[in-house]
Amino acid sequence: MTKHRFSQHALSDWMKGEGPESEIVISSRIRIARNLRNQPFPMLATNQQSKDVMEQLTEVSQSGKLKSIGRFETILLSEISELDKRVLVEKHLISPNLANESRCGAVILSDNESVSIMINEEDHLRIQCLYPGFQIQEAWSLASGIDDIFEEAADYAFDEKRGYLTTCPTNVGTGIRASVMMHLPALVLTSQINRILSAVTQVGLAVRGLYGEGSEALGNLFQVSNQITLGQSENEIIDNLYSVARQIIEHEKAARKRLMEDSRLRIEDRVKRSYGILSYASIMDSKEAAQRLSDVRLGADLGILSNVTPQVLNELLVMTQPGFLQQTFNEKMSPEQRDFRRAELIRKQLRGETDYGGA
């Protein structure tokens, strides 16, 4: 089995910890859903139809136009291991749906992993652009450009009244889902988060955890995204999300400032305890890791810790997931073994060591 770049390196572009407001906004993502006019949606497609869709759409990726954006690799889901699929999900490059339920599924991945184009997911085509920091508009213009390239070669299912037609009625119209991943520890510590998040849901936005629908908000990471896809233009949707996210950023900044003024010692203590535990613990479950890493990230942002970079923390976020751990150490693990290895990996990573003796 060939080894792909994505499984060898933890680092995707979105994890670099760069970009505007990167101390609060981890990443910005746009996802566009499109379908072909003359084929049933993937759920009802025959295997032959799914194969045809896959071939037609992967052919577009060979065109010169997509190459002008970057270098792309096409990966057929049927040709990679379950572990590789899991790693792709943990890096946010494919959805769990594509990994587990697709027939003739494929992903076209750019080499910096900021673009992933999924084929035969819930819809025929899902274009995803993932940028570090608060760059939602930039992600949209790239995604829209890629959409145009595919539209030149494929007849989209589009209706004058309903817009782009999708499998699920919650995506119809523009077919876009715009989301920003935010780290909001100060709003959680000062118990303001519920008030703010319930206000957010009242303006047509949804809040989820790190791994999307149904996932818990571990490590104070919240994903804010648009709910409405019909009746608003893409720019209205993105502007709405942008201005709400901007307000949340300001609230988080104010809360951090207040925490440092009112309870500096407590915060320092919390951050340093977590740093100490991560640096020396032998067993670390994923929940504790997420919480401690959140503390350390806050410490780095507030200047309490100077030797930890945001990039290391973003990488750890992904590297401490079950699939990636098994990939890194090149062995199958029980949950207990994962907790040992997770602790080991965090210790080494915080010390700047990168040799894990495994893969």
């Binding site: 084929q39 049933p40 819930e122 037609l165 699920c168 009625p169 009746g231």
Partner: protein, 173 residues
């Protein structure tokens, strides 16, 4: 507080239901809640977006079945064979034609999900030239209306000419 159902175990789940503006509260224990089929957030049977959607769709179903027990003919997509009943169960369409076949039922659903029923965003470049023109004409007609109301007849005439030009363009496409 003890469970309102069994009266034995402490009530650990507290529900507030608001149906048509009428508020009811339940305080029940976990095992009674499971029997009653109330969804427990975080439990395996909790709401997914699809079950929530099919709840919205069922609403229509219930409203329809009240009319003297008359059975309506099965609504089915000619293209892919999906029935409206199946769609309301799974909350997903089978193909692009389903949108046309189920059109009469979609407005209330889309309104509830999106607060709107009509797309106003991006249009495919290659196949959407005509739609682009139509949208521009609609906008120009609205502008024309307001010019006429304000008695700005000179600019109204310009708008009228532009509308005619676009209409000719559509006829040519």
């Amino acid at each position: 507080m003890f469970c309102q159902e069994c009266g034995k175990k402490p009530a650990t789940l507290h529900f507030t239901k608001i149906v048509n503006g009428e508020k009811t509260e339940f305080h029940i224990c976990e095992s009674c809640a499971r029997e009653k089929g109330e969804s427990i957030p975080g439990a395996p049977n909790s709401f997914s977006i699809h079950s929530l959607l099919s709840g919205l769709l069922d609403f229509e179903h219930i409203a329809g079945s009240n009319i003297g027990g008359i059975k309506q003919p099965t609504l089915r997509c000619e293209e892919c064979g999906l029935t409206y009943a199946q769609f309301s169960k799974i909350g997903r369409f089978g193909c692009s034609s389903c949108y046309r076949e189920f059109a009469e039922k979609l407005d209330p659903l889309l309104k509830r999900v999106h607060l709107s029923t009509v797309h106003t965003g991006k249009i495919p470049k290659r196949s959407g030239g005509q739609i682009q023109c139509k949208r521009e004409i609609e906008q120009l007609r609205r502008d024309l209306q307001s010019k006429v109301e304000h008695e700005e007849f000179e600019s109204a005439a310009q708008l009228r000419d532009r509308i005619r030009e676009l209409e000719r363009k559509i006829a040519d496409l």
